[in-house]
């Protein structure tokens, strides 16, 4: 097994409840070392609980969590020393400066102050370090939280909704950090409900819904599994003419989103479908095979699961 396939984090049949509320139920997934794993799901899906269980900040009711080969319940101090976390709403000691907060983080993670300064520079927050954090904007707080999370160069970085409330520039620097750290062999786990953020950076997706894993795997595998039939987008001057597409040979289903999204049994059917629609009087303005996005995948998985329920 090569390094990239060795799991940095594994959840096996993990269950966590808060009173009557089941936060996670039979959750299984693993995050390979050096990969970017994106936990996707709506609010309340169990993403934050997953982060908290990973560092041992919470203890599961049942099941097993391992991080870097260690059980956070037993070796919590060691696990937490090797993991960095950016919580969804990063909190600081507001009445003291950004630098004081970073110095504190450096002390408890046994990192040099030079590493704290380096991290601040990386997120372009060094000029504001002298100010009290209470006066920081949301973007500055997130940059400081990122600097605080990476100053000890963690082997695993967990980002819980890291771009919430950020301006586009700051959001981009977060995504750049993810790419840069993964490039250095670090394991990244990012929780988000923003599908466009996961697009392009996710080596692996874990779709959480109401505390259970609906699907897990690489985007390519999931697309192959859930979207095995190709989709062709067809548009026309008179869109009512596209209604006929549903009756044509080889068309499995049609979704109308302005244009018609035709799920077909083979991409080779496209020319026959176009010919038939033109023969019926449609003046086509667009014919394009769909390269599925994560959004397409996500909603397809949701659709499949709803149907199976």
């Amino acid at each position: 097994m090569n390094n990239s396939m060795t799991p940095a984090i594994t959840f096996t049949s993990v269950r966590k409840t808060f009173g009557d509320v089941v936060a996670l139920d039979s959750v299984d997934f693993s995050a390979p070392k050096g990969s970017v794993t994106v936990l996707l799901g709506p609010n309340g899906a169990g993403k934050t609980t997953t982060v908290r269980l990973t560092t041992g900040a919470m203890i599961p009711d049942s099941g097993v969590v391992t991080v870097l080969g260690l059980d956070p319940q037993i070796h919590g101090d060691e696990v937490r020393a090797r993991v960095g976390v950016v919580p969804p709403k990063p909190a600081f000691y507001d009445q003291i400066s950004g630098w004081d907060n970073l110095q504190f983080a450096a002390a408890i993670f046994e990192a040099d102050e030079s590493m704290a300064l380096e991290a601040a520079k990386r997120f372009e927050i060094e000029d504001a370090l002298g100010q009290d954090v209470g006066g920081y904007s949301t973007g500055m707080r997130t940059r400081l939280a990122l600097a605080r999370a990476v100053l000890h160069d963690p082997e695993v970085l967990m980002l819980d909704e890291p771009t919430a409330g950020l301006d586009p520039e700051s959001a981009r620097s977060v995504l750049e950090l993810i790419g840069e750290m993964a490039g250095r062999g670090r394991t990244i786990v990012m929780c988000t409900h923003l599908l466009h953020e996961a697009q392009g950076i996710a080596d692996q997706l874990v779709l959480l819904e109401e505390g259970t894993v609906e699907a897990a795997g690489s985007p390519r595998d999931l697309i192959r599994r859930y979207m095995s039939n190709p989709i062709v987008i067809i548009d026309a001057e008179d869109r009512s003419m596209l209604r006929a597409a549903a009756e044509l040979d080889g068309v499995l289903s049609v979704r109308y989103d302005g244009a018609a999204h035709l799920t077909v049994d083979s991409i080779d059917r496209t020319s026959d479908i176009v010919t038939e629609l033109v023969k019926r009087g449609a003046r086509l303005t667009r014919v394009e095979p769909l390269d599925p996005t994560l959004e397409d995948l996500y909603f397809e998985i949701q659709r499949v699961h709803r149907r199976s329920q």
Binding site: F18, G19, V21, R52, T55, G56, A57, M58, I59, G76, D77, E78, R80, A81, V83, V85, P87, K89, P90, A91, F92, Y93, D94, Q95, I96, D100, F104, A105, A107, I108, F109, E110, R148
Partner: protein
């Protein structure tokens, strides 16, 4: 126990407290009232009314103290003996009330405050053990109170020596009883109160609730320590040493059990319990 990390938490807690003037200015006023203004008022009044019947009454009170205590009271005139008695014996308990009140106020907010602000989440994800966090929070609450006690004690010493020293033949304060009270007896009493208060702070859901619940602990401890402190000032130094030792043992037991009673999850936001 990784003391470097503990020190970092203590240092930041003290620094935050120092930066929060709204919090510590009332505490400084409280300490000043007990250690400076009240003694000046009382002892200054004694100087002004040296020949009044009140002094005779006070001298009677001082005269009613045990013989062993009477033997230690300095001064020739009734006014001087009354001033000495008030300085050394009647005001003794303030030395314990003020630090306990300050430490309790800081300690009640120590853990629940982190949860309310969300900074507890960061501590929960940090390599600090719960025991290290507990000890750090205890020290961060004990130090302001005890420091206030020491500073107040020093100011009190100056005040009583200036106001009463000339009447009793020179500077006389602190006496051995006071020294052992401040250095040996007060710290474990503050620790006992804080060990209990930190448990409360880790269990309640708001700072307001913590303050309310802590007063239930603080008040009996203050009353108990008030009584003990008063008694010790009149007792031989050996008695105070033994009482201090017993208090330290109780404090140690409470510290060990207290650090085990707090769960890491309690540092996370209140919503984590939903």
């Amino acid at each position: 126990m990784r003391w470097r990390m503990v020190k970092a938490v203590v240092r930041i807690d003290l620094y935050r407290l120092f930066k929060t003037k709204d919090y510590w200015i009332p505490l400084v006023i409280l300490g000043s009232m007990f250690f400076v203004f009240l003694p000046i008022l009382l002892l200054g009044s004694l100087n002004l009314i040296a020949r009044s019947p009140t002094i005779a009454q006070l001298a009677d009170i001082v005269g009613a103290l045990p013989d062993a205590v009477q033997a230690n009271i300095r001064g020739e005139s009734p006014a001087a003996r009354a001033a000495y008695g008030v300085s050394v014996y009647l005001l003794a308990p303030i030395a314990i009330v003020v630090p306990l009140t300050i430490s309790s106020a800081v300690g009640s907010n120590a853990i629940v405050g982190e949860r309310e602000k969300g900074t507890g989440e960061y501590l929960a994800h940090s390599p600090l053990t719960v025991k290290e966090i507990y000890i750090a929070k205890l020290l961060g609450s004990l130090i302001p109170g005890y420091l206030a006690g020491i500073v107040g004690f020093a100011m009190y010493a100056v005040v009583v020596n200036v106001l009463v020293g000339s009447l009793v033949g020179g500077w006389f304060f602190p006496t051995p009883g006071w020294i052992i009270l401040v250095l040996w007896v007060i710290p474990p009493f503050i620790t006992i109160a804080l060990a209990l208060i930190l448990r409360i702070s880790a269990r309640v859901r708001s700072s307001a609730a913590a303050s309310q619940a802590s007063s239930l602990v603080t008040l009996p401890v203050i009353l108990m320590s008030y009584g003990i402190a008063t008694g010790l000032i009149y007792s031989p130094v050996a008695s105070a040493a033994i009482v201090g030792l017993v208090a330290w043992i109780i404090a140690a037991i409470l510290l060990v059990t207290g650090s085990k009673s707090i769960k890491r999850e309690r540092l996370l936001g209140v919503s984590a319990e939903a």
